[in-house]
Amino acid sequence: MLKVQSPTTTKTLISPGRLLLWVGVILMVGFCLAPVLWQLLTSFKTNAAISTIPTIYWPNWNQLTAAHYIGLGGEFLRYMGNSFFVSFISTCLCLVVGAPAAYSLARLKIPGENIILGLILIVSLFPYVLLFLGLLEIVKAVGIGNNYIALIVPYTAINLPLTILVLRSFFQQLPKDLEDSAKMDGYNTVAMLQHIVLPMTIPALVTTGILTFIFAWNEFIFALTFITRPEMETIPVAVAKIGGASVFEIPYGPIAAATVLGTIPLVILVLLFQRRIVQGITAGAVKG
């Protein structure tokens, strides 16, 4: 009788090449995550454990504490809220303004298109250290100091070039046949953009949106300069202002706790949308 070998037995055999691959992957991931894990560890260690030499990598229960987090207090939630508000609004504005601009640049034959693109690129070349003094004058003149508009507008403006360029190249690779097909089906321009183009653009919108959001979330100089009222501060400023009991003490624990808290929303955001980012839903539109 013929013996049929079950496929599962062959699968359990691990070839040396595969093993090497996985060891490599684990080492690489470990290397990349090490700073984050270190920060996380520091945020949970007691001050004594942090300053002990040799370094404690595997603390026991006595060396662990949540005091750094509790010490940040309720106002830290407020800073996170501030950051979230500013980042979210500027991201939305960026996409709402950038996407139509990118679409027109990708689809319409505009005379001097290259000049427009060049100008957009030039804007992104300005180091914003250079910009912020000028912007400070403008903020003062317009009288929007201590107002989130002073942050939202510059963040949007700084992120627009990236948004437009990324989305434009995305729109360019969207098959034009789809839009023609939609026109044949009887969609008018607005309905076509809404029902056909927009759903396919979501991965690109999410990707650029996250980049924009992260920029706004991390931004420091504008936030430090244009906002002076403590209750309106954003996370980077708040973290920078965490001080020790004396000038001789560096509060590693609280800073670590604050950075961990400040990072968590971004991690959640990326995890939430990673499928959208990774998966290209244009698959299957045209012969592939």
Partner: protein
Amino acid sequence: MPLLTLENLRKQFAPDVIPVKDISLTVADGEFLTLLGPSGCGKSTLLRLIAGLDQPTQGQVKVGETDLTTTPPGDRNMAMVFQSYALYPHMTVAENISAALKIRKIPSMEIRQRIGEVADKLGLTHLLDRKPGKLSGGQRQRVALARALVRNPDVFLLDEPLSNLDALLREQVREELKHIFNAQKKPVVYVTHDQTEAMTLSSKVAVLLDGRIQQLDPPSRIYTHPANRFVAGFVGSPQMNFLALQSQGGVGTLGTLKLPLPNGLGDRPTVDLGVRPEDIYLTPTGEEPTLKGKVTLVENFGREQLVTVQFGEGSSKIRAVIPPEQEWSGDHVGLSLKAAKMHWFDSKTGDRLSPT
């Protein structure tokens, strides 16, 4: 009574880019018109003009008596199948098929019924809930077709719908297309560069070159009476042989080949002879061959063998289709040409010359 009429259509993109130059034609109900031509001949542009996706620089597009030249594509009641299928990737097959109906505010009961009918006809019923990404090439092609059929349009437009299928499937779908559109009784305009599709599917073929119609005739007439050298060479595989003959006293010569010219063609200094490979045969014993030459290449297709023969002192070549069972001795053969199947063309303009 939809009757698609094109009047003096012209499309100009730039002063020297004119893909469509002055094209007029009509397609009646139940007629299947194929626009055939090499790439860049303007056939796709012409289709887009009919669809309304591009605006003509000049001329009119009419269905029946209504002038649709400036009507947006969605209001023309024409359905189009794209070469890339252009299915909406984020919608299921059913949503793809019904998109155009929903926009036209057709009651959902009727939509469901019509989707059911067309899905049944094309064998898509079990795929209705899938997204296009999960379908094979042939299935996507059917969905694209279903999307056009479900609308009951006045005119069907198809832009190389078979070119993305593999050879075997293409043959099968070609057959299905013929059945489907025979039953539709609507004007169909079909764009292709594949002469087999053009010959088998259409009731009328328009051969295009450089934005102009070279010939507009039923497929059989295109084959038997090509209007000029280009059409003769483009339609038919293996390609027609062309021989440039010197004419003297009613006899055309090329090297050792001497042919009496038909009446009315003798007064030209040169004339082009076209003869299809299948109209050339091995000279039977006892007959005088039209030409003798050396066999340089034999391509065996199983059904037939294509023999390339070099003759005359120059490098004149002629190809002949010979039944596979026929053999010849040595590498020299005598060939005869069927006089009734010869085509004559003006050597300058390429136009067909009819013997008087």
